[in-house]
Structures are given as structure tokens and as C-alpha cells.
Symmetry: C2
Subunit: 152 residues, 2 copies
């Protein structure tokens, strides 16, 4: 457990906050032509990937406030991208579901993003990127446990 | 520029927001015993690493609001960790500087963090972590330019 390992992790962690802020700006700019926001996109993505869900469950998954999720759900409903229905498991918490047009919008957004992403940083090989994904995932798993108060 | 590259970048980008949120929680918990916050720590770090600076310059560097930086500076002053003095270059914007105790506090915080970080995710080699740092830095550079409205 050398100090150099700590220095390398620290160098990695310093990159992530600006990456989150700047990538959210890029995504927001690209979504704005479709009248969507980063928050609406994130909620729609959860519903398309993981199926129908409640507002509290979406909030927990995205680590954003329930009020924010509720607002995004309202905005997505106004666009016809999600619908709500009674929740058989819980009377007070309706289920939110992506509609056909919502799923199709998400598919198009995703394809546009993948196409833009594939051209980025050509100096990194696909193998390099895959190492980075594995490393960042491993770090993420341990830091999530530490944040929850456990030991990794 | 294969679609698989885009998929790999996307997998990486999905990791970074939870990593930022959870690592801030871990750092906050560790700082709270010293009466410091993540924001105060970030401001102190900029001053120790890059020398005396103004509130607007610190805000730009950290991508946080000036009012937030001003509050952190006030809190750090109350602790004796920073001082302010007239700015020869700009009459209305004082220079903020880390004090000796501030620099020493930052040094201790950093050593504690490096020691905790060095033990994380032992399944990742130092070489793996260094690949990840290089990949994330390259992505960051391009996304920063895109966010600023340019092309990478």
C-alpha cells in the first residue's frame, strides 16, 4: 500500500468533479434543442433501463432530491414521455413508466451521445478506456461503502 | 471511431457523478472532526498549491459560486487558516493567502487522505490506476473544451 498509489488515486479523484460539471453542460446544450434537461434525461434513462419505478426509488438511484425527481416527472409527462399509474405495492406512491415515445426519445438521445463520445480523445485506445472503467468502478464501489458508513 | 468506444466512454461517465457525491461525503465525514468542510478544504488546497489568490479566481478554478468561496474564506479566516491583504493588481479584490497553520492543516489532511486512498481497491495495480488517470484527464480536457463551446 504505497504512498504512490494514494497519489495516483488522488490524481484521479481530482478529475472527476470538473468532468461531471462540464459533461453535464455538454449534455444540457445538446438536449436543449429537444426541450429536455439533464435531469429529465436521467429520470427517463432510469425508467427505460430498469422499468417502472416510484419517485422515491428514482431519487435514491440518482442521488437527487425527491422534489427534483417529481419536477422532472411532471415535465416528462407534459411531453408525453412518461405516464403514471397506481402502484399495486404501495398505495401512496404511484408508478412512473416511460411511454413508447419516451423510450424512442431516449434511444435517439443515447445513439447521438454514443456517436459523439466515440470520437473523443482518440489518443486513448479502447483497451485504455476499459481499464479506466474497471478502475473507476472499483473505486466507486469502495467509496460508496465508505460513504454509507461501512468499511470497504 | 467504433460504437464500442462510445459505449466504453459512456460506462465511464456514468461512474463519475456517484463517485463525486460519495467521495465528498467520505471527505466531509473525515474533515468534520476538525471543524472543516469539503468547501473550506478545496479553497485552502487552491491557496496552498497555487499561492495567494482572489475570491473570483478561486471560484473560477473550483467552478463554484463566488458567494460560496467568500463564505469558505470567512470560515477559514475565523480559524486562522487564511489571511487577506490588499491586492496590488486590483484595488477592489483582496488577495487571500494561506497562513502557516493553514498550510500545516492542509498538509496533515492530505497525508491522512493519501494514506486512506492508498489502501483502496487493492485489485487495481498502480499501473491500472495510472492508465485511468491518463484516460480521465484526456476525456476531461476535451469535455472542458466542448463545454466552453469549442470543438475538441
Amino acid at each position: 500500500m504505497s504512498r504512490e498509489r494514494g497519489v495516483a488515486w488522488y490524481a484521479l479523484l481530482r478529475q472527476v468533479r470538473p468532468l461531471v460539471l462540464n459533461s453535464a453542460r455538454v449534455v444540457e446544450a445538446s438536449l436543449s434543442s429537444q426541450g429536455l434537461t439533464v435531469g429529465m434525461r436521467a429520470v427517463l434513462e432510469v425508467l427505460v433501463e430498469s422499468g417502472d419505478s416510484t419517485v422515491p426509488a428514482i431519487a435514491a438511484r440518482l442521488q437527487i432530491a425527491r422534489q427534483g425527481v417529481q419536477r422532472h416527472v411532471d415535465d416528462l409527462r407534459a411531453r408525453g414521455y412518461v405516464g403514471v399509474r397506481a402502484n399495486p405495492a404501495h398505495r401512496r406512491s404511484v408508478l412512473v413508466a416511460a411511454t413508447g415515445p419516451g423510450a424512442e426519445a431516449m434511444r435517439r438521445i443515447r445513439e447521438d451521445e454514443l456517436s459523439a463520445l466515440s470520437a473523443l480523445a482518440p489518443g486513448c485506445t479502447r483497451e485504455d478506456i476499459e481499464v479506466a472503467v474497471r478502475v473507476v468502478s472499483a473505486l466507486n464501489d469502495e467509496i460508496r461503502q465508505l460513504a454509507a458508513g461501512g468499511r470497504p
